[in-house]
């Protein structure tokens, strides 16, 4: 029987990043993946001949630049294709376009509101400074005010210094941490579609509405990647999301990490409060000095660890961890690009609409629109008119679809995991897909005629296929009560667990979700430092 320094459960981007760092440090590492491909929710799959879907995650901005550098990802094929900007149809025939280029955005906003055009610069500058302030938190394990150990006090002093140096932004940051996204952006702007689109980044992956306090932080979380200089906006990886996962996997393998596919783990082997390895479905035992789970906290502790090994109070905290899924994906194969009526004026001028379509298209005409979509979900229904963030990957990377044809990736809110009145997603899946297409057709009436194939990925599917408990894409909500030293649960922050030699490295740990990689990287550091 082989023995490893570390066995990592799950080959999602965080599991792979953790493995790569451990292998780079000379450790003998094995990654175990249940599915037939690496990536977890960071995958490309050809589900319809010639058409490649980014089934779950679909854009990258948050991936930490130091990870890209440390793991030499470009050498292993990682390439990011920048999105042009964000197009928001206003719903009354016009549109608001936020371009990659600040000057272009200003000219566009002038058309809607000179006040907003001016405020946009102040807003971008403030967010930039706040992101700079908070960025160090993303590359260090969380400091906890509840612990008085010397290491923790040192971390707290470091934090105090960071904030002390930026005390002019202290209150702006405190407001951003506690306000709703809607109220935050309403301090700056008046154009409804701009307000809608900006506050929409406060609800991504979270069961909150734009008017729910705390959603402003989620907005900042999504802004974080934009300050890194490498790529100042969102981008699409060549080859789809597998382009990211494969590059990390290749980097890890080149350092000696082993990756076994189709190897579902049944449980973590624990003896006298210490992790000793894992048992695979089918009974195979694999011994390791450290066991690292990249799965979400609920799946890790409630499914892979036998109940007797956990303190009941800790188990209760894990039970109370909020992981409500709220989003879904619809992926389409298209015979042609749909025509958005809001771009009629561009077509009438004889200009190409391609530059407008080669970015994100946001269906978020106003804050109230998003809030009503949330109201449906609160009571256990999918949004009748959902919020959508849509891209055409094939416009950025033509290899994603046959020549002249296209794929669309549509991220949708809200689709609650738990449906009212005992309804099941198996019976609601296509009805939800219809609601998405019907809503899109309000903006691009010919879309129905262009659809060759449709995949609807509900929270139920995210759980069943990708192992995301309740379909939560962040492995746990990014709400204030579950962030920083409270993530995943109070008293057990960071990457260690109550079980010796067992660690966590997924998005359920600080600093949370998105294709960021920080949890995997910080967990590896904690594991190496703890030896």
């Amino acid at each position: 029987m082989k023995s490893y320094d570390a066995v990592i459960i799950g080959a999602g981007h965080n599991g792979l990043i953790c493995a790569a760092y451990l292998a780079k440090a000379g450790k003998k590492v094995l990654v175990l993946e249940r599915r037939h491909l690496v990536g977890g929710a960071t995958v490309t799959e050809e589900l319809y001949p010639g058409f490649k879907y980014t089934v779950c995650s679909y854009v990258v901005s948050l991936l930490r630049p130091d990870i890209i550098e440390d793991l030499e990802l470009p050498k292993y094929g990682f390439e990011l294709l920048p999105l042009n900007g964000t197009l928001t149809p206003t719903g009354d025939g016009d549109f608001v376009m936020r371009w990659h280029d600040a000057g272009d955005t200003r000219r566009e906003l002038m058309r809607h509101s000179p006040k907003d055009a001016e405020a946009y610069e102040r807003f971008a500058e403030l967010l930039y400074h706040l992101a700079l302030t908070i960025r160090p938190l993303l590359s260090t394990p969380p400091a906890s005010p509840t612990k008085l150990g010397p290491a923790n006090l040192k971390k707290l002093r470091g934090l105090g210094k960071i904030f002390g140096d930026r005390s002019d932004h202290l209150y702006d940051l405190a407001k951003l941490m506690t306000m709703s996204a809607a109220e935050f952006v309403e301090q700056f702007f008046e154009t409804p579609a701009l307000l809608g689109t900006l506050s929409a980044s406060g609800i991504i992956g979270t069961f909150l509405g734009p008017r729910s306090p705390g959603s402003a932080y989620v907005m900042l979380h999504h802004y974080m990647g934009e300050i890194d200089g490498q790529f100042r906006a969102w981008g699409f990886p060549r080859g789809g999301m597998s382009g990211v996962a494969e590059a990390i996997a290749s980097s890890a393998r080149s350092e000696g990490a082993e990756i076994r596919l189709e190897c579902p783990v049944e449980r973590i082997l624990i003896e006298r409060g210490q992790a000793k390895g894992v048992v695979l479905e089918g009974g195979e035992e694999i011994r390791a000095k450290k066991v690292v789970s990249s799965l979400d906290p609920k799946r890790t502790f409630l499914k892979l660890v036998e109940e007797g090994h956990l303190d009941p109070a800790f188990r209760q905290s894990i039970d109370r961890f909020k992981i409500r899924g709220s989003s879904a994906k619809v992926n389409l194969s298209l015979s042609a690009l749909p025509e958005f009526t809001c771009l009629d004026s561009i077509r009438a001028r004889g200009e190409s609409t391609d530059p407008y379509m080669a970015g994100a298209i946001s269906i978020s005409p106003s804050i109230d629109y998003l809030e009503r979509a949330y109201d449906d979900a609160k009571y256990g229904h999918f949004s009748r008119r959902p919020y959508m963030d849509m891209i055409f990957p094939s416009m950025l990377d033509p290899a994603m679809a046959p020549p002249g044809k296209h794929v669309a990736s549509i991220f949708c809110h809200y689709a609650p995991y738990e449906l009212a009145d005992g309804a099941h997603w198996d019976d609601q899946r296509e009805a939800f897909g219809d609601a998405v297409i019907d809503t899109l057709a309000e903006h691009a009436p010919n879309i129905r005629d262009t659809i060759l194939h449709r995949q609807v990925v509900t929270p139920w599917d995210l759980e069943q296929t990708f192992g995301l408990t309740e379909g939560n894409i962040f492995h746990g909500e990014l709400s204030l009560d579950q962030l920083f030293f409270l993530r995943p649960v109070p008293g057990q922050d960071g990457y260690g667990t109550p079980i010796r030699d067992m660690y966590m490295c997924g998005s359920g740990t600080h600093p949370g979700g998105g294709v960021m990689g920080a949890p995997g990287q910080l967990a590896a550091r904690a594991i190496l430092g703890g030896e």
Binding site: M179, L208, R372
Partner: protein
């Protein structure tokens, strides 16, 4: 009153906090005058005669949150205040059934224990001005450490739990602790008193502790009334203040805070000027700083922050004079405490939904009290007064106005009460409906907000009333705030007034 008269301090507004500030300052030897626009003291904590012989609360109906320190230090009982112990909350479940929240209920024991410990720790934060977060010298650091220790004293398990609890939504807290739906609704409603939030809004859990601290009986605890109505509290307070030398001047509306050489020099009252080096206002931050002081004395960035303070009233208050006892399900015992219509968390959430879109809810959340059931002095024999708070009713309505909607909304509330207390509509001798717009006009509350500024996470502690200006003193030297818009804020505790006086005395040169 004339130019020659000069006080150490002028207080604007003779509500609970204004009078408390005045009394504490006078007890410390300062000469103090309080100017009140109305012809009686009390502000929102007053008793008003709505029909001959019928005395109803002006806005705040119960007094259990009045802080014991204020009551004792100012000797309110010796000035005639008598507290009557009331009952708990009864949630009506149609015309037949009712559910009484009982503090002995074992299923809420853990929640009461935890919120009790949290409340005791927070009380140390509420009962004094906040320590500076921009540590300036040893004193600031000592204060900060004291604050940290107050929370740490909760222990290894409760302290991290407390930090998790504070930003939570009340619905999640209920999901974790309370199995019974009617109890969940009762506790959610108590946490949302005067809030511009729903049960699913993060931060709403804080209201549980803020509105029902341990010293007021804790979460789910009983209400208390003042004999003679809530005005008895402020009348006793006024007597206490007068005994300490305070001049309380009624029917005197302050129209301006006089600023000379960039600092406070007095106020204009009824066209005359009254001199004082310090002016403290119990009115809300916006009214005080924008309307009375005037933006020209402050930096534009500060003025912008004042204008950004959210004070969105969501309560409509209805006062009734009744010919007979209302026949609520649950019987006469319910009349001793608070009566709630809205028996599920989702009912409350839906009532909030409408307000988000600047609409009136079809089925508002109603919390009622019948003070005359325990205090017969409030109504003629056999007759009653009743106060109803209807939530959530936005200040601003889309496509219509309160003048157009007031009567119809009042009818909607009466209709709802009738379904739970048959015969109610017929028993009404007199009724009044005060929408947030009316509350603004009547009590000078910006936005009709009873808390003067929303009790939301971003408007608490060092963010209240204005981020960075938590020390009661405002940028114009000599101008102070002492109303519930300041730390710790809201709902009849008197602590803002007490803290403000303490801060002013420590600033005194």
């Amino acid at each position: 009153m004339s130019d020659s008269r000069k006080y150490d301090v002028v207080v604007i507004g003779a509500g609970l906090n204004g009078l408390a500030t005045a009394a504490y300052l006078a007890k410390a030897g300062k000469s103090v005058a309080v100017f009140e626009a109305a012809d009686h003291v009390g502000g929102t904590m007053a008793t008003v005669e709505i029909a001959p012989g019928f005395k109803a609360p002006a806005a705040l109906d119960t007094v259990e949150t009045l802080h014991p320190a204020v009551m004792d230090e100012l000797g309110l009982k010796s000035y005639g205040l008598e507290i009557i112990e009331g009952g708990g909350t009864t949630v009506l479940l149609g015309s037949e059934n009712a559910h009484q929240v009982n503090t002995d209920d074992p299923s809420i024991a853990e929640l009461r224990r935890f919120t009790g410990r949290l409340g005791e720790a927070l009380e140390k934060v509420w009962t004094r001005p906040l320590p500076a977060v921009e540590p300036t010298g040893v004193g600031g650091i000592v204060d900060l450490m004291r604050l940290g220790w107050a929370l740490r004293s909760m222990g290894k398990r409760d302290f991290p739990e407390a930090l998790r609890f504070l930003p939570m939504c009340v619905k999640d807290v209920m999901d974790e602790h309370v199995p019974d739906e009617a109890t969940r609704a009762a506790l959610s409603s108590s946490s949302l008193f005067g809030a511009s939030m729903g049960p699913r809004s993060p931060g709403s859990a804080y209201g549980l502790v803020h509105h029902q601290p341990p010293c007021a009986g804790g979460v789910g605890g009983p209400v208390k009334f003042a004999r003679g109505g809530p005005g008895a509290v402020t009348e006793a307070l006024a007597s206490s203040a007068k005994a300490a030398g305070v001049q309380v001047v009624l029917s005197s509306r302050v129209s301006e805070v006089i600023v000379e050489d960039g600092r406070a020099a007095g106020v204009s009252v009824n066209g005359e000027s009254v001199r004082a080096d310090r002016v403290v206002s119990a009115l809300d931050p916006r009214t005080t700083l924008i309307d009375l002081v005037g933006p020209r004395w402050m930096e534009p960035e500060f003025v912008e922050k004042v204008l950004q303070v959210r004070s969105r009233g969501t309560i409509t208050i209805l006062r009734f004079a009744l010919d007979k006892e209302p026949a609520f399900s649950g019987g006469a015992a319910t009349l001793r405490g608070r009566i709630q219509i809205g028996s599920t968390v989702d009912y409350i959430e839906r009532a909030w939904d409408a307000a988000k879109y600047r609409e009136l809810p079809k089925e508002p959340l109603l919390t009622c009290s019948v003070p005359s059931a325990l205090d017969p002095t409030l109504a003629p024999p056999g007759k009653h007064v009743m106060l109803v708070r209807a939530q959530f009713t936005p200040y601003q309505l889309d496509g219509t106005s309160w003048d157009a909607e007031r009567e119809a909304f009042g009818d909607r509330v009466v209709h709802l009460l009738e379904t739970h207390a048959p015969g109610f509509a017929k028993s009404i001798l007199h009724s009044e409906v005060d929408s947030p717009v009316d509350l603004e006009a009547r009590f000078g509350l910006s936005g009709g907000c009873l808390h003067h500024a929303d009790l939301a996470l971003d408007q608490l502690l060092h963010m209240r009333p204005i981020p960075g200006w938590y020390g009661y003193g405002m940028p114009v030297p000599g101008v102070y705030l002492c109303g519930p818009g300041t730390h710790p804020g809201g709902a009849g505790t008197g602590l803002s007034g007490r803290n403000a006086a303490r801060q002013m005395l420590s600033d005194w040169k």
